[in-house]
Amino acid sequence: MKTKSDVLVIGAGITGCAVARELSGYNASVIVLEKENDLAEGATKANSGIVHAGYDAVPGSRKAVYNVRGASMYPDLCASLGLPYQQCGALVIALNEQDRQTVEMLRDRGEKNGVPGLRILEHNELLTLEPVMNPQVVCALYVPTSALISPYETAYAMADHAALNGVSFIFNQTVLSVQRNPDGLFSVRTPSGEYLSRVLVNCAGTSGALLHNQLSADKLEMVYRRGQYYLLDHEKKLPFTHTVFQCPSAMGKGVLVTPTVHGNLLLGPTAEDIDDPMDTATTAEGLQEVFRKAALTWPGISIRTNITNFSGVRAHLTTDDFIIGPCSDCPGFFEAIGIESPGLSSAPAIAKDLASMIADELGLQTKEKMIPYTVPALAFRDMSAEEKARAVARDPAYGNIVCRCETVTEAEIRAAIRRPVGARTIDGVKRRTRAGMGRCQGGFCLPRVADILSEETRIPLLEIKKGNGNSFILSGTVESFLKRGADCDDSEC
């Protein structure tokens, strides 16, 4: 089967979704191919969720430019998509006088990059702001514009908006081969067929260099750098209200302690270079390292309320900067490669630039009118009593609480499945609604979520998956097991 489009985007992470949304404002046919079975399955679902202010990147680098621009776009973007955005501010703490020099260097760098409001706070002021912080703290860079967002929810909303405006998202599309035909069209082969396009966009995350190297003689080298985290339960009063970074030092980058937009506390990440970009396992050593380093910020550290550990893999280029724009030796090939931190912060700005470059290349016209994004209803848990009462009166499915830990209703789960690019897996429902995201980790709601998914999508219950590949929740009916035995092909049976 051959499918033709003007633009083919490879990868549906935060960058691919943002590019797709920008492109959906033009009169062009756009397809996004994703190798996994949902959006945001790579680094987008497993990072710190921070919109960095932009003090960290080397002045003049693409990381610096896109970070500061992207960060400035987020408040409006989140408001228009009904997404959480919390400007909680950040602190980069110095634990000795040597660190103070680093803090001052970061302030100067940030000012060069155009980050507003930076100042250095001293010991006493810091302990007033964050009373449980390490009392050895000397001073810290205060970054008032540092903010929190929900990375995967941002990608979902952008993809939904793109899909409303005509972009197709096609999942389970591993790129088997890619070439630029003599007629100038790109040909991308996947297990389900061939996709032809006039422009090809590389938003492939950790596969970015592989894709690039197939079409360009200018080879890139990518390092896969894993980061492991602890996610602690939300509490009425979290120990920290700011994102607290440690000074980068000879000992490494240090780990951060930060609230999340959902009121959890996040500790991490590590930075380990690994061979396999799909290896998002956590390790005993990695988790110990996070604990040890987080304790430097938070001496009274407690992981008693740990909900889960996870890890994500950064796409780090050995050249240490983003690559953004047209490929020098392959006309029509546009790229966003090496989008590691501050990639999330930069994504809206990267997308804006890439889309306008692509529009110029193809001579695209902007659409007269885009279909506006319908902001989803407020989460039930965030409604006032009156709003809750009205919601249940309007739709009794709001009266059925499916996830007890996060108070997620049946109505919200059905809505998540019915979104333009809706949930098709247990994890997809979890990230869109928070059902199963709480302290019991789906112990109670998993069977019910699986039932609702099966009902809505008509996927048989036995074929409902947790996430990708063969991540089936169930192995068979009780009757089938009794008839066959568990594994009749198994010699132990």
């Binding site: 009462a389 249940v392 009266g399 069977p447 947790k466 996430g467 990708n468 089936f472 192995s475 568990a486």
Partner: protein
């Protein structure tokens, strides 16, 4: 929003809530309501289709649903209203309970007394910080039990069980009987946290090895579980390098402890005990918030439902007495955990108590040929011998009111000592 008034509101229609409600009604309270989040009353017993329930209370071996049905029938006989599919969103210190259901929408129920009987939940993988991948095929034993017993589905074929809690042991047998292969039950402690009868009847009878002082140190499988690594642990529960064993399995069931579900209690300002993770209560099962009582597994995790019912019936009588304003004065003994003892309930006792009080606790380790002793200062109040105390089995000792007269101190200590 509907606003209603009741004398006693019971949250939870499992064995604790049902027993408490029956007591409330039998004490003569007419205005009583039980609410439950599930579709039917019975709580976790609905999915416990094995037998062994009710030996103490009924001198019979009942299945979970049979045991629950006796209380459900009794509640119906007493015309106790039970509203199911109703989730409590909050409880205030003033005993206003906000709940929601599809049938009745959002309701605010103002009660003169509230009985917390929400039960407990299982400790999930996150609480264990087990490294590895986050694949499908890792379930709490209770979730697997629900899939198999209520929904009719098998979660997997080759199973390892982490933790030797009773639900894990029961599920080892259940999965085996249903045609799955259970490879091992792995316990980090040097002793099992389950009942001895379950170790014999659920593991030994089926030749399933119990690996004590072992834990899971790695989980493999990108999408569905493919295998796990099990290591021996030292006396500090740290894995010993070089002792790794690999198991090919597609399912890992977790039975690593139960946690009383007290989010609502905390919202009402109820003070919790760090030893039990349940409310601090006196011998009437009243919490630190006047008029709010707690019983069953939300108060402390029990081994036997018979004990849950007995305790909850008493809590129901107390709640009724509270409403009928037969409150005693408020001078208390406080009850402390001494050596070898953890999580004694109740944590305080009225000084003028006029009925026997049963102290319930968990031994902190395994003690052979020992006695449990209750003391007030240097005065020994009572003593009970046992062949063995283990953390897997809750211990009880009863104080008679006459033991509590003319004592010099207001602190009682419960401890275990060798004979």
């Amino acid at each position: 929003m509907t606003i209603r008034n009741v004398d006693v509101l019971v949250i939870g229609a499992g064995p604790a809530g049902l027993a408490a409600a029956i007591a409330v009604r039998e004490a003569g309270i007419q205005s009583l309501l039980v609410i439950d989040r599930e579709k039917e009353p019975g709580g976790i017993l609905r999915q416990c289709i094995h037998n062994g329930f009710g030996l103490h209370r009924f001198q019979e071996e009942l299945t979970g649903p049979e045991y629950a049905q006796r209380d459900i029938d009794k509640a119906h006989e007493l015309n106790i209203p039970i509203e199911c599919s109703t989730m409590v969103l909050s409880v205030s210190a003033g005993r206003c309970v906000t709940c929601v259901s599809a049938a009745h929408g959002l309701q605010c129920i103002q009660a003169k007394a509230v009985i917390l009987a929400m039960g407990c939940r299982e400790r999930p993988r996150g609480a264990l910080c087990t490294p590895g991948t986050r694949c499908a095929g890792i379930y709490s034993a209770g979730t697997a039990q629900r899939f198999v017993n209520l929904e009719g589905y098998m979660p997997g074929k080759r199973v390892v069980i982490l933790g030797s809690g009773d639900i894990g042991l029961i599920m080892a047998r259940r999965m085996t009987l249903q045609g799955a292969k259970v490879l091992a039950c792995v316990e980090i402690m040097p002793f099992s946290s389950g009942l001895n009868r379950n170790i014999v009847q659920c593991l030994q009878d089926y030749g399933i090895p119990l690996l004590l002082s072992h834990t899971v140190t790695d989980i493999q499988g990108l999408n569905r579980l493919e295998g796990i690594t099990v290591s021996e642990v030292d006396e500090n529960r740290n894995p010993v390098p070089g002792t790794e064993k690999h198991f090919d399995c597609d399912t890992l069931l977790l039975s690593c402890g139960l946690i009383p579900e007290n989010e609502l209690s905390l919202g009402a300002g109820v003070i919790l005990s760090s030893a039990t993770s349940g409310a601090v209560v006196d011998e009437t099962f009243e919490t630190s918030v006047p008029g709010i009582f707690a019983c069953g597994n939300v108060l402390h995790v029990h081994d036997l439902v018979d004990h849950v019912s007995e305790e909850s019936y008493k809590a129901g009588l107390s709640a009724a007495a509270f409403v009928q304003d037969r409150q005693a004065d408020c001078l208390y003994f406080s009850v402390r955990d001494g050596s070898g003892v953890r999580g004694t309930v109740p944590q305080k006792i009225h000084r003028n108590v006029n009925a026997p009080v049963t102290l319930m606790f968990r031994p902190a380790g395994v003690y052979r040929n020992s006695s449990v002793v209750v003391e007030c200062g240097k005065t020994e109040l009572c003593r009970k011998k046992a062949m063995i105390f283990t953390p897997g089995e809750m211990s009880l000792i009863t104080l008679k009111p006459d033991m509590l007269t003319s004592l010099e101190s207001d602190t009682l200590t419960v401890r275990i000592e060798r004979n």
